[in-house]
Symmetry: C2
Subunit: 255 residues, 2 copies
Amino acid sequence: MEKITSASNPAVKRLRSLSEARSRRAENAFLVEGGVMINEALESGLKPLEALFEEEEALVSRLASLGASVRLCSRAVLEHVCDTVTPQGCCASFRLPENTALDEDAARLIALDDVQDPGNVGTILRTADAAGFQGVLLGLKSADVFSPKVQRAAMGSGFRVHSVRTALMPALKAYQKKGYRIVSSALDGEDLYAFGGFGSGERFVLVIGNEAKGISGDIREMSDVRLKIPMRGRAESLNASVAAGILMYELTKPT
Amino acid sequence: MEKITSASNPAVKRLRSLSEARSRRAENAFLVEGGVMINEALESGLKPLEALFEEEEALVSRLASLGASVRLCSRAVLEHVCDTVTPQGCCASFRLPENTALDEDAARLIALDDVQDPGNVGTILRTADAAGFQGVLLGLKSADVFSPKVQRAAMGSGFRVHSVRTALMPALKAYQKKGYRIVSSALDGEDLYAFGGFGSGERFVLVIGNEAKGISGDIREMSDVRLKIPMRGRAESLNASVAAGILMYELTKPT
């Protein structure tokens, strides 16, 4: 196979463009970097489209057999396309999962109200996957799940946890009508450790707010439960993904 | 006051060099960026040495009155010195706190066994401060608390939580002899939620391991308690700072 060495090759340009949210929507595709993550995406049933590899390897024929168009390229081209390049460099585009509704029987959901740091969004997806949450509602201003930085922090959980980008307030109201309890973290809320937690039959949506501003006023207002993680030392607040982790595990611990 | 516009000015070179651990040790100083963090450092009683400001402001005279040598500089010079520059740009060097022993009566400590990501180390310091831990033991290969990235993630807690860089194994053995229980997170450990937690009188050191390799074998072996955060979904592990947060809060919750 001939090696692509030019950054102006159309396939290279197309893959590189996927670092932009606008191009991801236009191409209906997103980029996955490195063999470990490509394997995770395949395991999750995602459809591979195009791939670039520095060297021939087993994964090349696996992707080709699934219908992907695979090309070899120089290291420089790979570095041009990717955010980070692992020693055995490769990347592949996959079709974006459809932005459909979450499972009707999902009992534990998390909603991100304008969480903007891609590392936080990715880490929250990873924790949601570990804690057994079944879906994520992403407010329209939250970081895009399919950006390379979010995917890297999510360590494969970005493929596994079903997420939907949606206007949060109407979505939460619809869940509330269906009997879900809306839980917000708030500095003037009830102490998390005084709150009893939820039984396994109860359905709820845990809302995590913006790194600087917290949860927006209207969502705070409509919440059924407001909880505060106690500050026992001198720090005024926690990192958003740490707070999300503590809340997710505490609210779903065995009773 | 004259504005420094040259990156080769000796004060500029000295401050810029503080991004390197070696220079921080040689100068016995570290750099704090932005007015909010400079104020946090002053509140924590740290001694300011030199500062650069884009504009005259109240903080300039406060630093000068504390004996710091303050200079005005251009935005370009500030960007040359700092990792990130806020709209009202400024930075200041402070004397490194002495690497002395932790408080004799500290009951809750955290130890970082080769936690290498600066964002994780900073976030763990912030959570330790919030959860009321009284000190941090940093293994020799963990990220340096006084790097700009750690300080940024710690949001001021890096100044407040007493930390000591030390060979971890002998330090943990000494604490164990004094009656502290050594607690490790381990994938084959006891379920965190089956473990009772510690009473307020019990003293312990919680050890957090390297992002990829976990806790080193000898420390795992000598631990009194090994705990596992249950994986209820399909993720295999948690981010190190999220795991640390869940453990810190769960082990110190009111009983």
